[in-house]
Symmetry: D2
Subunit: 422 residues, 4 copies
């Protein structure tokens, strides 16, 4: 660092001069204010285009500054909100309520809506959110900006606007390449590896949004197999024989990956699994069982903390069953994958010992995996049990294991009540 | 009407029994409440599908009842809103503000978001709004339901999600048929008539939304001609000669029609005209002038009320110029078409005597039409003049006519200030 | 005609001067000679493009001249053919045979192959053939040119290269418009009329060739109905109720039209009917009967010539049955429509009195129509009967009527043998 | 080999028993005879489908037997040919000529036309030809079958029916995978390698036929570069910087690969290069030079045989220039790549020393490569020089080198005349 740099930093840190990043951020903020005004309305998409362009040229520091400005200066005026609330308190009329709603809506929501009008606007906003999430780690005050962005994105990415597409070997390479990059559960080692996962005894489906036609939002991989699978290796082996899908018994969901960090917290997995199960059922009436082969990501950590000891199969299986069915946190199953599937109304069917011998599998769960079963006629009921009665629905075998776990564990379950047989 | 019918009506009118329509509406309302709850979240799109189906089977009376329930029972709880406002008044924190926003958001917004998840959900909501607008005529309390629907629809039909498509003779008949039905400015008398409007010296463009792939939202018709047009008949004549688009000088926008009554109040025209002008400019650099040939829908009415008298060309032209440039209402030009184009930043270029000899043209404006010019480099500035300084931008010729109109009219203009030369 | 014109004609007719048309034709012929040579091979498609362009600019007279040149100067050299034949006579080797084949192939075949390489080449050749067929009426010597063209076209329009497309209301208007223009059996009176024929209880399919993507080659119209139809009016009525295709019993082929006069003599109808029957059977297993409702175009003419007399139903039906099953010409059924369906292996099922009350129906066949049944399991066998044993396959009822006709007719049947019951 | 096998072979070889392969071949031959008859015409595509199915189930031996039968039993009847020739000798009429053409056409041509009608027929025939070419190595009598097949295929794969498609990273993986497998000039080592060749400063185009929509027939790879390239390595390097195509000066064709061995001898390369050059010229007017960077596959072999000696740059370059411009064989340039480009009308522009340091490059041509220039305005003239005057068109520099080669070589050139400066 030169003396000049150092001097510049000192000045900047003392707030005596505005850095170039700061100036760029302020320039953009001024434009955004115009954009959200009546002028923005009249300009067609010209201002929106300009704003998206300027944002693209901001450096990391400039973006952080912009987020600060959005959090601070694009919030509602407190006094106007309170005045509107007072008026509503007085007359309770629908019109007053609407007025209060408007007063309480931050200007940055309109800013984001208008930015979305530019070509590439939606992609820009998703990118903006990725950086905002990063910036939030150091500045919790930005949460209010994120709140507005999430409000819009979850409305825009409403399931009714998503398109389900089958992914196969006729899919453009540019999209397949993204699956390879995004896959988060069982690594895809390149095109030949992916090709095996797209043969006719495998299926892959993804949701897309019309504004991002080349960007999968989430994708699921399915193996059409003879029976409920107990190991991952045969499913993802490059050289396994290709089977006849019209003879398969079980559709095994063995990987589901969310692709867009800019959509964090906006969940499509539930819709995806159920839509895919329903479509495959229609196409292949021979399929009788829809189930996952899933990891137990939090198991080892939890056991090492709560019940360290001998690592025998008997003991570990019992503890795993206990952990999955009875260990709760904030009213939900503690294991993140279990939480997702129970929330969707799936039933915990089976614990599989030596199911995933990869380093990751061993590190997460001593190599164990589980099957969650999606019985479409039962998911609503199972979900009710889980959400309203705080019951996990599981098979008798799992329940038996969990009771054995009960005996081993020194302390009480966190689950409000016992599992129910599915 | 039988005695039993009469008896039933009497009972219903006295509120002593619930009609069948009322019961159906209540059943659906119960389902909607589930749908908007956590249960709806878990059901995939099953509940949404059911709700959309039930709505489809409600009769007109049932729908009116449903709207009443939505207005009454799906509004925010007043006390919760006031509590949240009080908390925000105390600490002014972003978290309290978010809490207040949530408390003030009617549950029916979530209901509509969830209904949208069903296949055909978006189309159902547009249909629902059409009926709601009808019902509102008799029951202004439904305005709050409409407010929520508009809030969602304008977010979902954000310009960033719209697709501009060229309509030509290769477009599916199912879509062309809709243009024929929807056309609101210069009637299309069937396929042969439409065909002439789609030849290579004519252009037609429409916005579509991905959730309604076969439904044009708005479309514009353009004639590629030698000069600024002064009459509509040669443009829409079935037997006019087809000209060479690469030699045209002027792109004349002679018709623009909004197709979806369910999107009333959500405007795309501004975007459409500017996008089309910009795209055609890129495709055909020979085009030097982008302008409309537009009706003056409110002119005759206004003249008959404000300046009845002799119907000479001189007098009528002067009054028309005055009316268009100086007659304002609520801070905007009074004529609805003028208001639209001035709001978009267009310039009023020319008054055309004997431009539209059709009964409608004579009835609206003594057969006169006007040209609004879209100079893309000037629209922002013109818009500023119009919105901020309340100036209409017009040609010297129009301004001269308007001054002549000033002399005729007994009273003051309502425009806050004089037009400016464009 | 002026004196100069007359003088020119005289000169031209005496062959003393070449007309301008003649000169243009000769210029093109010179180019075609280059095109068919090695030079044409090397030029990419440049020469082909030029040739197609020149052809397009020839007037009617120039084209006739060109055809004459093609017939005269682009035929094989007789001496070379005879030399090659002599060599083959000597050694009978495959190489000599190939040599003979080459010597006997007219140069114009290569000319047409090369013209086809230009953009729009295939369409140009189809147009050329239409004019050639016209010119042949006055000049039978052109038949050899046509023979070469047919040889190529029937190879290029091999069924393996045709694409079957369903035509419905989502088909581009530009294609639908052609169906309206081409329909040859039951006139389509415009788009609304066509729309009824494309509803879900009607089907329309056409063959297309990849080189003419917007040009239907042949199309068939099908009604999905409750029973074997006996009248055409209910099928083509604009206001008939739309039925549920999943409940239909019979697929009634009520119109089949060849669209391209340039493909005269190259038949696709057999392929089309069988492919459509097979595809519809797969889509709608409820369909149990595939049959036509067909005109008898030659009936009235034949009766008036061969058995004039009283026009009672009994007599006319008997004569019609006799005509269809026993009146042969050159080893084939005499009625053109019967010939087509018998050749395809269809069975003559029923005669329908008062089936088509239109002027055309009355003029052709006293308003009678017939049903031919396509039983896909029987068509090969029926065809064998028809072609090899000269039997027409028909129902017992038709056979009985034909025998009654036998008794009425003064003379012997031309059919080599009696019909067989299907 | 067991005793039984031996016995069987003996029997088969003595013709005393027909092998199973022989029987299958004969069964199919019987079917093919039906197929080519009127019965085949009537069956729709049923017989064709059956024939294609049976062919698919023949083993290698069965196919060889089938080819023998096709050569022997599906040839024209000699006497009929001679009779037809005699009739033509007598009257010389067009009708007699047509009759002779028909008599001389082998039945197997009709067989192949009918097989093509089945779904997948065209692909089956291409596969059949690959095996036929293999079988011909041992049985030259099969050449007549191949002749008929080539006759049909070159008619069907007429350039007018081919579709030019740009290949890029949005192309389906199933097609990209084929490019990787087929590439014959500079090996593509997998998808990442291919990806670099599809970036925006590279282009790839292929011809497709509508009957084989997923099968490239031939493809060419182009690099958009600053100057006429002298080395292949920078072009195919995976990590080279991606340049701006709008600033490129030269489109360098660095690889062209025919993909279908079943189309051997039917050439599309000439069309492809010229079409691509013309299209790219239209898209990128900045491109001023269209040229190849090509191997000299036969050089080392030729030098080692004809002028072995010192391998200095000076000597090798002189010999290479001499070899390319003056060494002819059967009226064409001897080097296969040179022959292709001279035949297309390209000019030999430059010899590049150390252009391809790969083992293959060194083995073929001491690492030398050449540039052929495609000047679209000159290709016809260059082609004339090459074909009619037996001149190769080359630059002055190459001509100078060739003269130096003249001095070194002990013997006379085989070229009929000297090169001409381009």
């Amino acid at each position: 660092m030169t003396a000049m740099d150092l001097f510049g930093r000192l000045l900047a840190s003392t707030g005596m001069v505005r850095s170039s990043a700061q100036r760029s951020a302020e320039r953009l903020a001024t434009l955004l204010r115009s954009l959200a005004s009546q002028r923005g309305e009249a300009s067609g998409a010209v201002l929106a285009r300009r704003a998206v362009g300027l944002y693209g040229r901001l450096d990391a520091e400039g973006r952080r500054r912009l987020f600060e400005i959005l959090a601070r200066d694009f919030s509602p005026d407190r006094q106007s909100v309170l005045d509107a609330a007072a008026a509503y308190a007085r007359d309770g009329s629908p019109a007053s309520l609407v007025h209060l709603q408007h007063a309480a809506e931050p200007l940055r929501q309109e800013v984001f809506r208008r930015m979305n009008m530019a070509p590439g606007g939606t992609a820009t906003l998703l990118g903006l959110r990725v950086e905002l999430l990063e910036a939030m780690k150091g500045d919790p005050a930005l949460a209010s900006v994120d709140h507005d962005l999430v409000h819009l994105l979850s409305s825009w990415f409403n399931r009714g606007f998503l398109e389900l597409r089958r992914i196969d070997w006729n899919t453009p390479a540019a999209i397949l390449e993204k699956l390879i990059a995004y896959e988060a559960v069982h690594e895809i080692r390149g095109f030949p590896d992916l090709k095996r996962r797209l043969q006719r005894d495998r299926r892959c489906f993804a949701f897309f949004h019309p504004a991002l036609p080349d960007e999968p939002l989430i994708f699921v991989e399915v193996a059409l197999v003879d029976e409920l699978p107990s190991q991952i290796a045969p499913i993802i082996a490059l050289d396994s024989e290709v089977a006849e899908p019209r003879r398969a018994y079980c559709a095994a969901f063995y990987s589901i990956t969310s692709c867009q960090p800019g959509l964090r917290g906006i969940s499509f997995g539930n819709f995806l699994i159920k839509q895919v199960a329903s479509d495959m059922q229609a196409e292949l009436p021979n399929l009788k069982l829809f189930a996952t082969l899933s990891p137990i990501p939090g198991l080892r950590n939890w056991i090492e903390k709560n019940a360290p000891g001998e690592e025998s199969r008997e003991r570990l299986e019992a503890l795993a069953a206990w952990y999955l069915t009875r260990e709760w946190e904030n009213g939900q199953a503690r294991d993140s994958v279990a939480r997702f599937h129970f929330g969707n109304g799936a039933r915990l069917e089976r614990l599989n010992w030596q199911a995933d011998a990869s380093p990751k599998g061993l590190a997460q769960s001593f190599g164990m995996m589980v099957n969650y079963v999606y019985d479409l006629r039962m998911v609503e009921r199972n979900h009710e049990e889980y959400v309203n009665r705080r019951h996990v629905v599981c098979s008798g075998a799992v329940e038996k294991l969990a009771r054995a776990g009960e005996a081993i564990l020194p302390r009480k379950p966190t689950a409000p009540s016992a599992p129910v047989p599915g």
